[in-house]
């Protein structure tokens, strides 16, 4: 049988009830005892009363006689008879109340005495008042009455003694009863207290135990278990509680598992609700954004974008397709640090298919950006290096031509010269041939100079951009009908050697283009030095060309390569041209104040 708490309590109640009944019974017994003793007392009292009545009535008997003897009168006789009747009455009633323990004979004696007294009285009253006779009868009567009185007195004393005894007994009984009741009361109280305590303990103990287990769980010990102590509802509660804990533990384990996954991820994961407010995020996301999870939770993802337009664009795409998007964008941390990321977002759907939010994965693209920038940098440096190499090559060839080949040819010319002066007179034919050879050699020398100069004017290296350009312009002016003019502003000092070469080349190419394609009449070239940059401007009044077309075509005027070289130096190129409107080229390159 499963004891349930109700039953237990009921049982306890019964026990208490039992003791209450016990006390009631004890009380009842006490009352009965007291009732008996008090009854006895009453009886004795009644006896006493009866006897006293007798005594009293006896005493009263003689007074009418005495009065008759003094006064006479018929009245006294009836009074005397009254009094006798009174005694009789008293005797009767006394007899009824007198218990058998007392001496009945006394009363009988009194009765007899009474009869005698009565007759004596009567005789007294019948005789004329004769003092001595009457006195004698009176004395007789007195004696008899005194005897009777003695008897009643004895009875009275007896009765009084009994009465006292009963009173004593009564008092003792009361004392005993009181003690008994008090004792019982104390015992009962004690039992109730102890019992009550035990019952309470029995009830609260499992509750406290359960509470302890709950606190353990609250502190994080998911393995805590409640003890199943009894087989009642508390036991059931403990058992159910334990199952619940197991269930929670399971759920926590899987939640921990998933949390572990999320927080082990290298990429940041952010979950937002439909309005873009962040509901949860993983460690990587918080780290990337340099902010705590708590601070980010609840904030709007809109605030994370460096360019607020990005957010609206992304979200529009999102709502349109409900699909995913993958794009590059820049986020902004709380400390206003720019973070380039790869950003991918998908719609989060609840089980009804409605969009309940967005799941966003962000991948730190800082490295990628750095690498891109580095590649860009490398490309620029490579371009410059290639240019450098080209220039070196050109310089080498030019030098070889100019100094090497040129010198050799010159010395040949000297040899021929010597030959010429050493010829004897008259060998004019030989002289002519020789002169021709000298001319050819001169021409060869000239040609080699020209070639070398085209490759790179040595003046550029030795004297700088301005003299080299001046020389170039002068030469071109001599060779073509186009009128070139050249101005420089603020170029007293030389600039970076590599920049000089590039600018010279670009100028050379521009001039060549003008010569070849422009059909211009005038052209103007200017070099202007500003505080932090240098500007090269080339303008002509020719037929112009279509800029975009030329840029795309590879065999064109090499605009692309010019742009490439300029951008390697960090400069910019603007070219403005239209058919019939001439051409203008403006190049600006940053230049250190050397």
């Amino acid at each position: 049988m499963r004891l349930n708490i109700g039953n237990k309590l009921f049982l306890s109640g019964f026990i208490v009830l039992f003791f209450i009944i016990l006390i009631a019974v004890a009380g009842d017994i006490v009352v009965r005892i007291l009732k008996r003793t008090s009854h006895l007392i009453v009886v004795e009292y009644r006896e006493l009363e009866g006897i006293q009545k007798v005594s009293f009535s006896l005493i009263q008997v003689l007074s009418p006689v005495k009065t008759y003897m003094i006064e006479g009168g018929v009245k006294q006789l009836s009074l005397f008879q009254h009094r006798i009747t009174d005694v009789t009455t008293a005797l009767d009633s006394c007899e009824t109340v007198l218990t058998k323990r007392h001496n009945e004979e006394i009363l009988a004696g009194v009765r007899n005495s009474l009869v005698i007294v009565d007759s004596l009285g009567k005789s007294l009253f019948s005789k004329p008042p004769n003092a001595s006779e009457q006195m004698r009868i009176l004395h007789q009567m007195q004696k008899i009455i005194d005897n009777s009185l003695a008897g009643t007195q004895a009875l009275q004393i007896e009765t009084e003694e009994e009465l006292n005894e009963y009173v004593r007994t009564n008092e003792i009984a009361i004392l005993h009863s009181t003690i008994t009741i008090i004792l019982l009361g104390i015992i009962l109280t004690f039992i109730v207290l102890v019992g009550g305590f035990l019952v309470i303990k029995k009830i609260t103990s499992p509750i406290i135990q359960l509470l302890d287990t709950i606190y353990q769980v609250k502190r994080g010990d998911m393995k805590a278990k409640a003890e199943v102590q009894s087989r009642d509802e508390f036991g059931e509660l403990a058992g159910a509680f334990n199952s619940m804990l197991e269930r929670i533990d399971e759920v926590t384990v899987s939640r921990n598992f998933y949390n572990n996954i999320l927080n082990s991820m290298f990429n940041g994961l952010i979950v937002t609700n439909r309005q873009g407010s962040i509901t949860s995020l993983n460690d990587a996301a918080a780290e990337l954004l340099e902010e705590t999870k708590e601070n980010l939770t609840g904030s709007s993802i809109k605030d994370l974008f460096a360019d607020p337009d990005d957010y609206t664009k992304l979200m529009e795409v999102e709502q349109r397709g409900g699909g995913d998007i993958l794009t590059e964008t820049t986020l902004k941390s709380h400390k206003e640090k720019m973070i380039p990321v790869l950003f991918s977002a998908s719609a989060l759907q609840d089980h009804n298919g409605n969009i309940s939010g967005y799941v966003i994965v962000i991948h730190d693209a800082t490295e990628k950006k750095k690498i891109e920038q580095k590649l860009d940098q490398i490309r620029k440096e490579r371009t410059i290096a290639i240019n450098e190499a080209e220039e070196k090559e050109r310089l080498r060839i030019a030098t070889d031509l100019h100094d090497g080949l040129g010198q050799i040819l010159t010395s040949v010319s000297f040899s021929l010269e010597n030959l010429d002066s050493g010829l004897p007179e008259g060998s004019s034919g030989l002289k002519d041939d020789l002169n021709q050879a000298q001319e050819q050699i001169k021409a060869a020398i000239s040609e080699s100079k020209r070639i070398s100069h085209n490759l790179i004017p040595l003046a550029l290296k030795d004297f700088g951009l301005v003299p080299a350009l001046s020389h170039l312009i002068n030469q071109v002016n001599q060779q073509s009908s186009i009128r070139f003019s050249f101005d420089t502003f603020n170029l007293d000092k030389r600039i970076d050697a590599r920049l000089e070469k590039v600018l010279f080349r670009i100028c050379q190419e521009s001039v060549n283009n003008i010569l070849r394609h422009s059909q211009a009449t005038k052209a103007y070239i200017q070099l202007i030095r500003h505080e932090h940059s240098i500007v090269l401007g080339v303008e002509d009044d020719g037929i112009g060309f279509h800029v975009e077309e030329q840029e795309k075509s590879h065999s064109g005027i090499g605009l692309a390569s010019i742009r490439e070289r300029i951008s390697a130096f960090g400069g910019s190129l603007t070219i403005q041209s239209a058919r019939g409107k001439g051409t203008e080229l403006v190049i600006e390159v940053p230049c250190k104040t050397s």
Binding site: E417, N418, L458, R529
Partner: protein, 219 residues
């Protein structure tokens, strides 16, 4: 009669040989030394104190021009004639600035060598024919520029003129860019160029110049 003492300096053996042969054909000339680099020629010259030095301009260690300077510091009477293949006016200019007495191309004839020596000994400057041509062209060019007073001393390009007009019309850089179909940055570059070229620091000064030289009109 005392012979004229000459030192030849050229980093090319063949040239050295060639010139020395030519010079030796003149009985009055005596070649007292040959050098193949700048330092050597300076040392030799200071040691031997020749009358004439034929100096190749482009030599290793010390350039001919620098060597010339150094020599003349010690012996200012030495006549130094530059020998070169460069026909660039700049080289000539630099040589003259350094104190040289003449500039000849290496492929000059025997007569030219003789004339050169005679001229410089007489105190004149000597230049190869071709060099003289170049120098005169340069001079003419420069003179032309100086003399033309009706053109503004500074040439303003077509584009620059357009921009000055628009500045005068109180257009912003952005507006100018839009009108001319160029970027605002390019407009700013042009503005800077103009200010630098005309050597003005404010728009007011710019416009004043423009009015003065009829680049814009005051309507």
């Amino acid at each position: 009669m005392e012979k004229i003492r000459i030192i030849i300096a050229d980093d090319h053996e063949l040239i050295l040989k060639g010139i020395s042969v030519i010079l030796r054909s003149y009985p009055d000339f005596e070649i007292v030394g040959e050098a193949t680099n700048g330092k050597e020629v300076v040392a030799l010259t200071l040691q031997l104190t020749p009358d004439i030095v034929f100096m190749d301009i482009s030599m290793p260690d010390l350039s001919g021009i620098e060597a010339c300077r150094q020599i003349l510091r010690h012996y200012p009477d030495t006549r130094i004639i530059a020998l070169s293949q460069h026909e660039d006016g700049e080289y000539v200019y630099q040589m003259l600035k350094a104190g040289g007495s003449g500039y000849m191309l290496k492929d000059s004839s025997k007569e030219e060598f003789g004339n050169a020596i005679q001229s410089v000994l007489a105190g004149e400057k000597y230049f190869s024919a071709k060099i003289s041509e170049i120098m005169i062209t340069d001079l003419m060019h420069r003179k032309e520029q100086e003399n033309s007073s009706d053109l503004p001393p500074v040439h303003i390009t077509r584009r620059e003129k357009e921009i000055i007009e628009m500045i005068a019309d109180d257009l912003s850089n952005q507006a100018i860019g839009e009108k001319l179909h160029i970027s605002q940055r390019t407009v700013e570059t042009h503005r800077r160029n103009i200010m630098q070229k005309l050597n003005v620091k404010s728009v007011v000064a710019l416009l004043k110049y423009a009015v003065k030289h009829n680049l814009i009109s005051l309507e």
